[in-house]
Amino acid sequence: MRIRKSGAARAVVVTLATGLVLAGCASERDSGKSGEAGDTFIFGAAGDPSSLDPALASDGETFRVTRQAFEALIEHEPGGSKLVGGLAKSWEASEDGTEWTFKLRDGVKFHDGEKLTAEAVCANYDYWFNWTGTYQNSGVSYYWQTIMGGFKKNEDKETPEANYVSCTAEDELTPVIKVKEATANLPGGFSLQALAIHSPKAIKAYAKEEATGEGDAISYPKYSQEAGTVAGTGPFKISKWSKGNKEVTLERFDDYWGKKAGVEKLVFRTIDTEDGRRQALQSGDIQGYDLVAPADVKTLEKDGFQVPTRDVFNIFYLGFNQEAEKLLRKKEVRQAVAHAIDRENLVKTQLPEGGVVATQFMPDTVAGFSDQVKTYDYDPEKAKDLLADAGEKSPTIEVCYPTEVTRPYMPAPADMFELMKADLEKIGVKVKPRAMKWNPDYIDSLQNGKCGMYLFGWTGDFNDGYNFIGTWFGGYDKQWGFKDKKVFDALKAASAEPDAEKRTELYKKANEVVMDFLPGVPISSSPPAIAFAKDVNPPKVSPLTQENFGEVSFK
């Protein structure tokens, strides 16, 4: 380089050389990294949590984080969907299902040193019940409103009436929660992360802050946006949330009542893209991630990564809206569509291992699943005949599907749509595709009844038939656009039954009625795949995607 004399040029050369040296050294430096990661488990999340207070949230990414720090009265058994004791060792409902008595575990401590007592539990429930202002917004208190109805003083006439009555401490470890009417949402609702129990001291601190709703969005209160105030009872306590780095850091809670966490530090790191998460796992930068694309499962397994299979707890369906698409009012057309779709092929080509063809609007892991329902096998010829019977040789139907989204029940909606479209065209149906961005255009259109046929699904919150079919077919719903007394009655009967076993039987009946009416075509249930690094002992994977990372340790 002959330009040494110029100062600027020298700077350039120096920069260049430095750059080269840096690049050269990088590899050396990186190899030493794995040692220090020893007791830190990093999990790749698909999105940032919305808040550190689960009571204000309704999304899986938030709950995945808070679940490690907060526990509810009732929990699901590890790796299953059965309800077992959580903070309460046992529980019991009165005959009419309006009075719930819990026996709390003794010696449970919160992260801030407080003790778990019946009063602490009631402080939580009363705090929620007394929410005012923005907290009453369903975007903030979605789950409270779903399970317990409204608040002490509803401020908006759209808010449902409160079903919650009171919580009293019968003795130090026996809280009793009273509700107005029996509901199929209980006891499952008690297991929700949104109703997890916080330390009474934390609750007091929360009460001093306000969520505000001025302007054009809801502002979450400060305490829910930074670590420090929130305190639960879980195996980890939240120690830092760095929004810039997209990381939530949790530390082992040494006074945990159960088995202590296997790693000292647990970090949830948001990596927005699917391939980003995969590549981060492959390069050893993270030790696990959820919602693995089915196409990656085999590749990852081949490279020695662990991809444990979950049980299914979701349903993916092709929905009909009989108001938006008049053709679908004819039962023959609905049946023709059901016979036309090659669900076996769809499951085989698109879903990860463990995916199954659905026969009804719930997976077989849910209480109320019936094996007596009417089934609709893949039979294009029969489908054609049915169309002919209906007098619709080659109808045109608009089908909506979402783009750029991965749901646990629907790993690749656009591809699934293409497959179904080909199937429908085979029987002479002309498909008009209508793609929309998932959030919020797509959901908006479905719920406003603007789509004749659409791809949609649901992941269960807890194991009760109501959580699946109860909300859809219990009455007229814009998304489905039909009124059928038989269907409505069957579901109403089931939801009103306080006895769990009787309710299960009624849901089986309801499933049969629904599948005879055929308001849509249930397609499949699939286990969302989750992957872990080679040197990790993974937690028991849960059909409800409620993994407890306290079980994680390094080999």
Binding site: K348, T403, A412
Partner: protein, 317 residues
Amino acid sequence: MSTKTDKIDRLAELTAQTETSTGHSLAYEAFRRLRASKMAVIGACIIAVFVVLAVLGPWIAPYSPTAQAWRGEVLPAQSVFVGPRGENWLGLDHLGRDEFSRMLVGARQTLLVGVVSTLLGFTVGCLIGVGAGAAATLGGRLGRRIDTVVMRFIDMLLALPSLLLAVSVAAVLGQSLTTVMIAVGVVQIPIFARLLRGAMLAQGGSDYVLASQALGVRKRRIVLGHIVPNSLSPVIVQATLSLATAIIEAAALSYLGLGNPDAAVPEWGVMLAQAQRFFDAAPMLAVYPSVGIIITALGFTLLGEAMREALDPKLRS
């Protein structure tokens, strides 16, 4: 606040300079130099091949690009893909469709997006540019004021990241092929507007305009009959370059999930965005469309840059 501004102004000034520095007509000079440029020839060849493929694609494609003719053979969930083989030269895509046919047919769609969006940006941009330019050169005090306000606004649009502008448009219009074209086209509007106005201003000061004015030729005739035609060449250069940008920008929109949602109609940008999901199991599915995009964009860029150089007297050897 962007290079765009700077480059545009530079290009805009060229017309006037070239005109005064040589005796020949601008078009003649430029074409002569263009023919001698290796860059231009290579660019033109690439474009020619691309256009032929785009026009003939659907007829020469061996199979239907949308039929899932081999759908049982490809199992994305099991990482089973089919690579190149006798009947499928480039293998099968993730739904069992012939990749080669999709590439061929995709060429047309890609060209269509590029051309329509550039045309849109060109037309609207030129209308604004002519308006502002005419106001500035012949509109007197009020005209200059209007010109200033309009151009400030256009400059501000130029300052916005183009992707954000495209995304904003796509967000309002919902997802469709038309949206992609409009979104990509809108981004080009300020570029063309500023360019044409700049070129017109450069022309506005030239002798023949002053002469026409002195002779009492009507203003509208001066603008439409003289200034605009003489200002068009840099705009045409820019249009060529814009075609490349448009194709790349459309691909970026697809990557962000705002592309043409109808995946059945093959388009390279969408194909690339989709194939990235299977990059581990079938990397070639991403390579084909990306190579297509890169080469095509390169063709337009080569030709455009060569044209720009041909117009620029300073770069003559």
